[in-house]
Each structure stands twice: as C-alpha cells, then as structure tokens.
C-alpha cells in the first residue's frame, strides 16, 4: 500500500455534545448528592423539613438513587462515550440530530423523574421506580443513543474496534434488555401501573435487573471510560490488551447470572440462589482483571499520578472498584450474606461504588476533557486537589461508619441470651445503638458534596478561561482506503466479528441472554418452583388501596417483607416467608434494607389504634423511633374512583377475582373501611372511613394473616 491510495478526509469532532452532557452530569450530580444529605439527615432528625408528603424519606430516597444512578452517572457515561467514541472511531457522531434528541430526551426523563417521584408516582421496584409513560420514553431515548453509537462505529475510519467500545456496545444492548423486561407493567391509569410479574417471579426479574443495572450501567461503561482515559492521561498504552479481551467477555458473560445473590435465604428456589452465589464468586476474576489492567497501565508513570488530578481520581476510582468487586462476591456467600443483608453494610458498599468508582472515574474524565475542549489548562490544580481530598475523605467518613453500623446492628439482631431469648427483642434498641454512625455519615456525605462544589466551580472557571472548540478539526484516512481485513492472517473469526459492529452486538446480546434464559425459564414455567398455598387469598379492594399507599410512600425503602429462615428472625418476626405467600403481589415488596423491622407478619400484631397513633407520630408509640410521621394520610381521602380499574387490571394479571367483582369492589372497600373506622372510634380515635390511613391500616393488618389464620385453624 502506498500513500497515494490513502485518501485523507477532514472532519470535525462534536465537542458541544460532550460539554452538554458534562454540565448535566455536574448539575444533577450536585442535586443528587444534596438529596442524599437530606435523607441521611432525616434518618437522624426524623422531623427535619417537617411533615411534608413530597419531602418525606420514602419518596426522596428513590429520587436520590435515581438522580445519582441515571442523572449523575448516566450523563457521565454519555459525556465519556461521546468524547472517546468519536476519537476511537476517527469520526464525528453519526447524527447531530440524534445526539441532540438523546441529550434533551435524557434530561426530560430526569426532570419528569424529579417531579413524579416526590409526588408519589412510583412502581415500587427499586431503581426502576419510574412509571410506565417515562419507561417508554427511556426505551425510545436509549434506542436513539444506541443507533447513533452503532452507526458511528459502522461509519468509522478505523479498522479495529477498541475494547472501550466493546464495553459501550454491551452497555447499550444489555440495558435495553434489562429495562424492557423489568418494566413490563399493565397501566391502571396515566401514572399508575402494576408489574406484570408477581412475588417470587417479580423479585427474580427485579434483582436480575437491579444487579445488572449495576453491572451494565455503573460498571461496563465506566470500564470503557477507564480504558480510554487512563492511557490518555498516563500517555501509556494499556498494560495488557489480551487481559482486556479476556476480562470483557468473562465479565459480561458472568454478570448476568449473579442477580439472585440479592435474594439469598429468601423464598426464591434454592437452586437459583446457589447459581447466583457461584457466578458472583467467579466474578472476582474478571473484575480484578479490569482493576489490575487499569492500575498497571500506570506502571512507570506513577510520578504523573502525583501531578495529575485526572490520574488521582482514576486511581482512587479504580482502587475502589477493586474493593467493591471484592466485597460484592464476599457478600454473595450465604454465610456472609446472612450477616450483611438488610443492613447498612450494603449502603456502605454501594456508596463506595457510586462515590469513589463512578464519581472518581466521572470527575477524572471531566478534568481531562474540559481543558482539552476549551483549549486551556485546568484553572486551578490546587482546587482540584482540594476536591480530591474532600471526595476521598468524604468517602471514608461515609463508608466506614456504615460498615460499622451494619455489622454492629446485624450482630445485635442475632444475639440470644443464655436462656435462648432474643437479647434485643425491641428492634428500636438496635437502631438507637447505631445512630452516632448515621451522624458521621451525614458529615462524610457533606464532605463529598463540598468537594463536588469545588470541582464544579473549578471546571466552570476552566471553561471561562478558554473558549469551547465546539467542532474540533481532525483528519484521518478515508474509510474506503482502509482495508477492514488487512491480510490473510487477519481473517480470524473474532477479527471479523469485531470489525462488524452489528455482528459484535448480536454476539454480546447472545452472551447475556444465555444466563437470563437459563435462570428465568424454570421459575416462569415450572409450576413446582412456586408452590401455591391454598389459604393465601387475593387482597380485598381496600387492602389493594392500602397497599398502593404503602408503595407510594416508599415503605419498602426501610421495611422488608421477607423473613429469612433463621431462628433470630422467626423469633422476632414469626414464621419464615414462603414463595406461595406472594403470588398476588404485583409488585413484590420484599425490600432490601431494614432501617425498621420486617413487616411480613405485621397483621394482627397490634390493634388498629396502635397503627393509627404510630403513623401519625411514631415517637408516641415508639420513643426514639426515626420513622417519619405520615400526617397527610389523616387529611387525604383514598382515591376510590380507581378501585374498579385496579381490580380489573389485577385480574388481567392473573389475580383470581371473580367475574363482575369489580362492580361491587367499591362497596366492599367502603364497608371494610367503615368497620376499621368504627373500631378506631371505639378506642377514641375518630376518623372518617374515607381517609387514606384507614386503607393503609387495612393493608398492614392483612400482612401475613393468611398463614397465621391457617395455623390457628389447623391447631
């Protein structure tokens, strides 16, 4: 080949889209961190910000998680992808219009989330709380992103597809599959729907989604960003490209199986739990492969780490990635999971990931791209160092108290006296013990937030000191002058595969579908996996209404409904949970964290009047409680109008309400509400039967009753 056959093409990289996503990442990031500090404060000062429904803990917590995952990390991903993809493909993004639709569409999704979640519109499935119209919008915008990315790869002026792009492709296909499968829901109204799955199946789908959202939204795209920006900032090639190939395929193939480790000791079939454990444990290998590859790329360049804020954040990020991906598999072992699950240990673990890994890599990327795009230097290296230290110390002050609190509380839950009784039978006692840790956590979170503010200010001043090169001129040999397959030796099947983005995408899709199908098929199709219990009956219409209030208020963010088969739990909460108890739960409400006690056998434990007083002011019945008061439930009326629609929708999903039952559903609900209101009135708590608190009490009193009644009957 000679120079004459190479046609050099001139083109421009789109920097403006990178800048826009970067700015969005910073703005939403600060909001997400701030909401985090607010809800952390609410766990120490439960009356903080007063009793306002849309500022209550249960509604703000999903806002915090969604903001940090989808707004902060999401925009970071897109900024990193749009910057690196164009350069690795030596091509401008395929369509400026698609880039713009992607950007504004994604911000619209975030704004609608920020409005609907505090207003209580939620599906009640963690990290997938957004209601069905927003779910559809997410799917559409995600496809716009994917098409734009794949077409850019297709139109590239580069023979090979670098490993970072593999990670981006796997992110696109897997998140699409996860989002669509987990969001299958049947609408009742414009902003209310029920999950298509129930109970155990819903739990399996949800945690397959939840875990792989961590894998393919918070891990693979950030690994791609790491693989581009570490070599860039260190000016060194990747330590081992061979290792990157092995760890890419191993990672995406293994991750998809690991979801059930969120459901150990639950009512999920045992074989599925074991599968989750084994694959999670194996995940250490590819995860650490990635970490080692990232860190060893810095070999011989460690002096640069001292100087470069980009590399400092990268090193902390990648190291935290290594720690999190060691913790994860450890917590997937049943004996360790028995100790850490439902506790603050998990909260420490996820914040190590989000703040250090996602935040570290995200900010490193910003510190790299902003000076480049604005043709200037970082405004203040000193301030960047301050950001780094605030962030690093913030993470330590956050994570360590959470680890401590988690283990301490868990040991207290499990401690027995020599006589065989629970040492701390009152759950609240174990909460009061760890409150100082909650205070330190607020401090840690605030440090991280302040660091973020310094970082944003520094990047703002950096931008001000230069001027944006919105369209960066570049040139490369034209696509048709580059042979995609250079010679005979190049014709290995993978070389062919990786040169064709669509085939590569199909192959990556196959890798993640295998695990999905093997795991889902039996649970969905083999009846023996979900043994039904004759005594378990569908909820009454009033209980359905009460359950929807429970979901709306985000009760699942602090209360589980899943008693594990340990003596320490059956002593405290009652009989352990059975798969058959949840067959009418659309969605399931097993929860993942016990800031308060489990509620699965709550029904009948206390009289109606206790719940009435407790929900109005938890500290009246439980001195020292950190639960928020739900005063608005005493003012607002239950939305009776949708009762019929809810029954019809649930029947369509398989709940066996008799034909025509919807016609009498409202009367049934009102009759039951009158009975409860009359009982409350007898205890001196007069209230209209139309109020929401009555419906909620009906639901709480139903929890676990079917099993209890059947036991009483058989005795």
């Amino acid at each position: 080949m000679n120079n004459e056959s190479l046609r050099i093409e001139k083109f421009e990289y789109d920097n403006k889209i990178v800048r826009n996503f970067g700015v969005a990442m910073m703005g939403w990031g600060l909001i997400g961190f701030l909401v985090g500090i607010i809800i952390a404060s609410k766990l120490y000062f439960p009356s903080f910000l007063g009793n306002i429904s849309f500022l209550s803990y249960g509604r703000l917590r999903p806002l915090h998680t969604n903001a940090v995952i989808f707004a902060f990390a999401g925009n970071a991903i897109f900024a990193g992808v749009y910057y690196s993809l164009q350069r690795l493909c030596k091509a401008r993004m395929w369509s400026d219009l698609f880039s713009k639709i992607h950007f504004w569409g994604w911000q619209t999704i975030i704004v609608t989330a920020a409005l609907t979640l505090p207003l209580g519109f939620t599906t009640g499935k963690e990290y997938a709380e957004l209601e069905w119209p927003i779910d559809i919008l997410i799917a559409l915008i995600w496809v716009v992103f994917g098409v734009n990315m794949l077409m850019t790869i297709y139109k590239r002026r580069e023979r090979h597809i670098y490993v970072a792009i593999w990670f981006y492709i796997s992110t696109f296909v897997t998140v699409a599959v996860l989002h669509i499968v987990n969001s299958m829901e049947l609408p009742v109204s414009f902003l209310k729907s029920y999950s298509m799955y129930a109970g155990v199946q819903d739990a399996l789908v949800q945690w397959w989604y939840g875990h792989n959202a961590v894998a393919f939204f918070l891990t693979t795209p950030f690994l791609g960003i790491m693989y581009y920006f570490i070599p860039k900032a260190a000016e060194r090639p990747v330590y081992s490209y061979r290792l990157s190939i092995v760890h890419f395929w191993a990672l995406i193939f293994l991750y998809i199986w690991a979801g059930p480790h969120h459901l150990l000791y639950t009512a999920l079939p045992d074989w599925a739990q074991s599968l989750g454990t084994v694959f999670s444990f194996m995940l250490i290998a590819p995860s650490w492969g990635g970490m080692v590859n990232g860190l060893l790329t810095l070999r011989g360049a460690w002096d640069k780490v001292r100087e470069s804020p980009v590399l400092k954040f990268m090193v902390v990020g990648v190291t935290a990635y290594g720690m999190s991906t060691f913790e994860g598999p450890m917590m997937s072992l049943k004996n360790i999971n028995a100790l850490t699950h439902y506790t603050d240990y998990v909260i420490g673990h996820v914040h190590l990931g989000a703040l250090a890994w996602n935040g570290g890599v995200g900010f490193a990327m910003l510190y790299y791209v902003f000076p480049k795009m604005y043709r200037t230097e970082i405004w203040s290296k000193k301030l960047a160092n301050w950001h780094f230290w605030f962030a690093t110390l913030g993470i330590l002050f956050y994570a360590i108290p959470m680890y401590w609190a988690g283990i301490a509380q868990s040991l207290m839950w499990k401690e027995f006296t020599p006589d065989g009784a629970l040492r701390y039978p009152n759950f609240l006692e174990t909460v009061l013990q760890i409150l100082p840790m909650y205070l330190i956590r607020i401090f840690g979170g605030t440090l991280y937030f302040v660091g973020g503010v310094l970082g944003v200010y520094n990047l703002y001043r950096t931008a001000r000191s230069g001027s944006l090169m919105a369209n960066e001129a570049a040139e490369a040999p034209s696509r048709d002058s580059i042979p995609l397959i250079a010679n005979e030796h190049d014709k290995t099947w993978h070389r062919m595969l990786e040169s064709k983005p669509f085939k590569f995408t199909a192959f990556a899709l196959l890798a993640i579908l295998v695990g999905t199908i093997v795991e889902f098929m039996p649970t969905f199709l083999v009846k023996e996996n979900i043994p039904t219990i004759a005594e378990v009956k569908p909820y009454t219409p009033l209980e359905v209404q009460g359950r929807d209030i429970y979901i709306r208020e985000g009760c699942y963010t602090c209360h589980s409904q899943m008693i594990r088969p340990f003596r320490s739990e059956t002593e405290r909460y009652g009989d352990y949970s059975k798969a058959g108890e949840f067959v009418y739960d659309h969605p399931f409400q097993w929860g993942s964290k016990r800031t308060g006690p489990d509620l699965q056998r709550e029904g009948g434990k206390y009289p109606n009047s206790w719940h009435f007083l407790h929900m109005n002011d938890p500290r009246k019945t439980s001195p020292g409680s950190i639960m928020p008061a739900y005063t608005w439930l005493y003012d607002d009326n239950t939305d009776w109008a949708n009762t019929e629609g809810k029954i019809i929708t649930l029947r369509k999903l398989g709940v066996p309400y008799p034909d025509g039952f919807e016609g009498s559903a409202l009367d049934s609900a009102k009759a039951q509400a009158n009975t409860i209101a009359a009982d409350l009135s007898k205890s001196g708590n007069a209230i209209s039967s139309d109020k929401e608190i009555v419906a909620l009490i009906a639901y709480l009193q139903r929890l676990g009753r079917d099993i209890k009644l059947s036991k009483t009957a058989s005795n």
């Binding site: 690196s84 030596k90 670098y162 061979r242 074989w271 599968l275």
Partner: protein
C-alpha cells in the same frame, strides 16, 4: 407443548449443571482464542487511545504501512 414439557420436568437441578457447562465452554474457548492473538495486533490495540493525539493521522498512516 414446550410449556407442558417443562411443567412436568421434575429435575430442575439440571439448570445449574447446564449453566456450569456453558460457562466452562465459553470461557475456555475465549481464553484459548485470546492467548492465540498475535503480539503485533495486541500492541497496536493497546496503544489505540494514544492515536488521536496531535500528529495521530501520521500514526495511522504509519500503522497502515506496516499492515
């Protein structure tokens, strides 16, 4: 029909075994393939992010001459 076959299938434990075999096959195949990659290709790819620095067009042209 397939649904009925599955419903009557009692030995659900076949699934973990399938998964194990699948994993071993995929992993071994991928490992063998990665180990057989030639060094020139690996080195070129490892330096790929560095190409778009100033003067990278030259670098691309250069690497093409060698292919």
């Amino acid at each position: 029909m397939y649904k009925n076959v599955l419903e009557t299938m009692h030995d659900v434990h076949i699934y973990p075994i399938i998964s194990l075999i699948l994993f071993l096959v995929v992993f071994t195949a991928m490992l063998v393939w990665a180990l057989r990659k030639d060094k020139g290709y690996l080195d070129e790819m490892a330096a790929k992010p560095l190409e778009d620095s100033e003067g990278d067009t030259q670098h691309s042209v250069h690497s093409l001459h060698h292919s």
